[in-house]
């Protein structure tokens, strides 16, 4: 099957720290690719390089056959990004937000309207289109954020923890929506810390740790690696990445013996 993303020996260094270390993987067209890893493993840095937001130190990556460094504008036409932080302006209404981001992609107003309406109804946000985003709950914001990412009718959608902090109802709705998008032919790169979500949605999974791909396969094949009866994806994940707690400060990762020593609550840094 044809690949939508091809990554070869991709590396990103920040000074002496190597955030992504010689990573290679492919994502097939119409595939949901689970990209898992502990905090600070290099998931978001990889996504930022693939979405042209960061320049790789070395290595190659193409999206729809366009080089992410040399053909940035071409790449940008094929991608949609739902980043960890919601990309919407609180003081603008949902409609104004969608219009603004659509205009940045040089879409005419009626085309933005047509494309938005296609998804807004499915995500039950039609009645909130003229309300300011700042008044929305996290779940409502995330739904508009996904519509924003879909304005370009992307071939590949990057979803960086799309259900983080959402209630079970919204999570359920968004998971269903991701599946539906995929059925319509959109490839998805999904990062999540929810192993059930990853297992439920992903066709294939790559596990990244300390900037390196530790394993990459289908969920079934990964499970076969675990030396345990009826293993869950979490068992596989812990077997591969270990049980040490990762302390991440300013992008640097330190491992710590499982449950030993004081652990700061707010240590989730990308």
């Amino acid at each position: 099957m044809e690949n939508i993303i091809e990554v070869k020996n991709l590396t990103k260094k920040f000074g002496h720290f190597t955030a992504v270390d010689n990573v290679s993987f492919n994502i097939r067209k119409k595939e949901i690719f689970g990209f898992l890893g502990p905090n600070g493993a290099g998931k978001s840095t990889t996504i930022r390089m693939l979405t042209t937001l960061l320049r790789p130190t070395s290595g190659d990556a193409t999206i729809a056959s366009h080089d992410v460094v040399k053909k940035q504008d071409q790449v940008r036409k094929h991608i949609g990004l739902v980043a960890e932080k919601i990309i919407l302006y609180d003081h603008l209404t949902a409609r104004e937000n969608l219009e603004f981001f659509g205009r940045l992609f040089h879409l005419p107003k009626d085309e933005i309207k047509r494309r938005s309406e296609k998804w807004i109804g499915k995500l039950h946000m039609t009645e909130w289109l003229n309300a300011q985003v700042g008044t929305f709950s996290t779940g409502m914001k995330q739904r508009i954020n996904i519509v924003r990412a879909l304005l370009t009718e992307p071939d590949i959608l990057f979803l960086d923890e799309p259900t983080l902090g959402l209630d079970p109802q919204t999570t359920h709705m968004i998971r269903g929506f991701i599946r539906e998008l995929n059925n319509q032919g959109v490839s998805v790169l999904l990062t999540t810390h929810d192993m059930l979500e990853a297992e439920e949605l992903s066709d294939r999974i790559a596990i990244i740790d300390h900037g390196k791909i530790a394993a990459s396969d289908t969920v079934e094949n990964l499970k076969k690696r675990a030396q345990k009866e009826n293993p869950t994806l979490e068992d596989v994940f812990l077997a591969i990445t270990g049980k040490e707690i990762r302390d991440v400060t300013n992008g640097r990762v330190a491992t710590r013996g499982h449950m030993h020593g004081p652990i700061r609550a707010n240590n989730r840094v990308r």
């Binding site: 320049r55 990309i87 919407l88 603008l92 940045l104």
Partner: protein, 394 residues
Amino acid sequence: MQTIFDLWQIAKKDLLEFRRDRLRLITFFIMPIFMMIMVGFIFPNQNSIKNISIGVVNQDNQSVSQGLVESIIDLKLSGDNPAFVVKDYSNIEAIKDGIKKQEISGGLFIPSDFSTKIAQSEQTEVTVVEDQSNPQISQMVNQVLVKIIDGFSGQLGQQKINQILVGRASANTSAQSIMAPIQAKLIGIIPGNPNYFEFVAPGIMAMIVMTAVLTGLAASISREKEQGTLDGILISPINRLAIILGKALSQSIRGLIQGAIVLLLAFFLFGVTVHGSLLLVALLLILGIFSFVGLGILVSAIATEQETATQLLFMFQFPMLFLSGVFFPILMMPSIMQKIAHVIPLTYAITALRKVMVLGAGFGAVRTEFLILLIFGVVTLTISVPVFKRVITK
């Protein structure tokens, strides 16, 4: 063309976002009002006077008038420094032009019949031309000049009395020509007497507009970085230049609105009159903003957080506030501070605005400031735009 479309989208979004943020909007309007009222009632005192350039027209050029000019040249009020640096001018209009261009801070006109009238025991008159753009300096210059003239006049009167006493001069002279043979007449360039507020209003306007643009631009970019919305802009196929220019445009529009508020307040609340062209005032403000945009971009490129950007800018703004001559004339500062003042673009914007607003100067008189602001803007933008582009996609 596409870049212009893109930058307008960014600017429009920024302005809309700004309009919706009530607190920011309230501060936006209150800040200039607060500043104007606060400053409008401050009248500082000060008393040092040295190396002040003044223009002299001596149409008489006889020994008596030369004596008067020499006593002005020889005056020392602060250590060994002469109080005045005297420059020769051909006529009173040339002195007025010199003041408009801020080459001199006042002038003295001695008419051609000066010596003749004194010799004929008649009262004569010299004219002191004021620099109304600078009430503090002009008040001191006038006082000192009038004092010198009065002193000189007193000496002539004494000589006259001595001559009468020894019988070398006729006693049939008017009392006036003995008591005060020289009269000093004060004239200005524009009618009326400008107050301290007229001096300070152009400075406040420039300062409010430029610092608002500087902090606004840096805060706006770093806020988007912090909130993650900049990523949404950066993954679109628009030119990086359009992002910066769009942000600069929205800040400039806001800056100009604030400038207009200051001007209206100055007009209605403090009776300030703009003697020059309003168009030139607007043009100078735009150019002032242009000279600051590069610095704002540079700070926002370096600062990763809004707070860092604000702190960094405070480092620039604080000295600028005191050194650019907003409240105190640069001429009164120690020479090292005067040198620093001359590398701050705000100084030039304020000087030019003062010339146009207070003295009614035209484009010709502000050409130098115009050029310096333009060069400053071009240089800082040439440095900051590539830095910004590099930093946002590390």
